[in-house]
Symmetry: C2
Subunit: 200 residues, 2 copies
């Protein structure tokens, strides 16, 4: 709603980014079905058709927002202190849980699962994101040399479901403490690694 006064005409990249930022703010704080393009346009101080000009359909814009929100930068293995794998995993999770605690709204809304037959294009982006997070974890802990990658990745992605679930219990339901989350994630990750390296 807050129309920020910007020059009447901007270079495409800037205008696009400006609209995207307005969309991120709105989608982050409200159920995405309750946010319409008119609102986003108003927040960006721009006419509604411009959204379609830069992003195509509303869903395309939504997907761009998802990509931005879900993105996680890589962590180099040497940044993680500790000798044992369990110890280094604990440090990594501490970092991530710190990040989650810092902007809980994003993660809360992300952990809210959708229903049957969610939009396939949206679902694809979320799977992409799950895979990215899992790969980041594998890289940061250098897990590749512990188990074959084609077994490891899907198992860690699945384990990400437990991560989302426990974070939701922590931040939304408040039925788990942060320490509970850390503990259960470290322990189950160790278990999952055991299963992954179990050649059968």
């Amino acid at each position: 709603m807050t129309a920020e006064p910007t020059p009447a005409r901007l270079p495409p990249e800037e205008r696009r980014e400006q609209i995207l930022q307005s969309a991120i703010r709105l989608f982050e704080e409200r159920p995405h079905t309750s946010v319409n393009t008119a609102e986003i346009a108003a927040a960006a101080g721009v006419a509604r058709p411009l959204i379609h000009h830069y992003f195509g359909t509303r869903r395309d814009l939504y997907i761009e927002v998802l990509r931005r929100l879900y993105f996680i930068p890589p962590i180099e293995p040497e940044e993680l202190p500790g000798d044992s794998l369990r110890e280094r995993a604990g440090h990594l999770l501490d970092r991530w849980l710190d990040g989650v605690a810092r902007r809980p709204n994003i993660w809360l809304t992300f952990t809210a699962s959708g229903g049957p037959g969610a939009d396939p294009a949206v679902a694809a982006v979320l799977r992409e994101a799950d895979a990215l997070v899992a790969q980041r974890l594998i890289d940061a802990l250098a897990l590749d040399d512990q188990a074959p990658a084609d077994r490891l990745l899907p198992l860690v992605i699945a384990w990400g479901g437990l991560a989302k679930g426990s974070i939701h219990q922590w931040l939304a339901e408040k039925t788990l403490t942060r320490d509970d989350v850390r503990t259960v994630l470290v322990e189950t990750l160790m278990t999952v690694l055991g299963v992954a390296s179990d050649q059968r």
Copy 2:
């Protein structure tokens, strides 16, 4: 689309159920955003306003469909053979994975997660359902006497995220076998139980 010829006038309960069944079929096989009320009405061989008459808004109908799809009947502990807890958990998971394999579409669409800011009313129903499934598992394995319920339930609900994730990897991505899923679920469940009973 297939208009089944039914009497022009039905008792409310029957008409309501008929509409609900048509909605279930459509929501089950297609992304729910691509199904509109006109289609549901046509499939039920009925005029569109009747849907609102019986269910209120489209979302209310959708939520009713979710409740039906997600429902899982209880399993009595004595139905599960085996001495050790691990063994009985394995049997329970076998039963559930059988059920999942029998109607994969339902579970595939359910495991597809939604995005940020999913509809709060819909999210509430899904959380309700997650809690129901977790409670069923706790009851069937009689886990109550192993850990305090207020710690156990949230942890098992969170573990349900891993269950959804691994089932998705199995049925949709085909990166895990059914046996992988069974193994990782049994082992992580044991780990989670350990964390739950860990008084600290």
